[in-house]
Symmetry: C2
Subunit: 158 residues, 2 copies
């Protein structure tokens, strides 16, 4: 996030004496999103990846950095290529990935996950899966599928 995990507002208090309005759609999306993020970090830190900082999650956003060129990935993540390169340097230093020469273009590089990086990806997936399981149990499986399908449709629009 940019700064990583900080972020934003979605609805606000009533002024003065007035009662609050109901939570609006922004807050409703943000809060479970925060919960997913938090669970991913907790599981990473407890699985041998204590050096995995919240900021690095940006790089691993769907569909992940594997095989991408730094410029392309920076554009996808909407940060400058310098900012991304800083994060890639940290991740390379910690052994999560490597920047390899691209045989097809001598100017370019390709990002390759190391075994350690792939293992971290596995933990992230597990963590997300655990959250999905917990939510499915809470809502009931059919209704969780409804939620997922509605979100997929919404993402298609956005």
């Amino acid at each position: 996030m940019p700064r990583s995990n900080k972020s934003s507002a979605f609805t606000t208090s009533g002024d003065d004496g007035k009662p609050f309005g109901p939570p609006l759609i922004g807050a409703l999306l943000r809060m479970p999103w925060d919960a997913v993020q938090q669970h991913m970090l907790t599981r990473l830190h407890g699985s041998g990846f204590a050096d995995f900082d919240a900021a690095y999650l940006t790089v691993f956003q769907y569909p992940g950095p594997q095989g991408a060129r730094p410029s392309e990935l920076a554009a996808r993540l909407r940060v400058s290529k310098q900012a991304l390169n800083y994060l890639l340097g940290e991740l390379e230093r910690l052994g999560y990935l490597e920047r390899r020469a691209d045989p097809d273009d001598l100017r370019s590089k390709r990002i390759a996950l190391t075994p350690r990086g792939s293992a971290a990806v596995g933990v992230i997936r597990e963590a997300v899966g655990e959250v999905e399981t917990a939510w499915a149990r809470q809502l009931g499986p059919g209704r969780f599928d409804d939620l997922r399908n509605l979100l997929i449709e919404l993402n298609g629009v956005t």
Copy 2:
């Protein structure tokens, strides 16, 4: 947003030759959330609040800063009180709010929105409402209500 509009990952690419998995629940929540945030900022910047930075949205998170004490708000937002105080200083300098003495506790302050601050809150609400309207039209009104209700139930759990 922290950092402003950047943020985090939720699912990742398949390694090497394998195909990608489907978008997981994290990504599905993050993407429309980003869209809401972006629309709020766009509307603010186009409505006389060009100096409203993305970082300030943090302070206006539901249910907003009105009447809160800085320490309490910092705890709610999970940032240090120093970090919040920095943002409050900026927002006070720009005329969005004031920190007033608390008559009940001489150590404490209370945050009060200025008219300008309340106007910005109004624009934020409008912006969220516009997004809701657009999504309701896309999904159909009944299905948008379903989405909202599922999210409310999920937030009740979290």
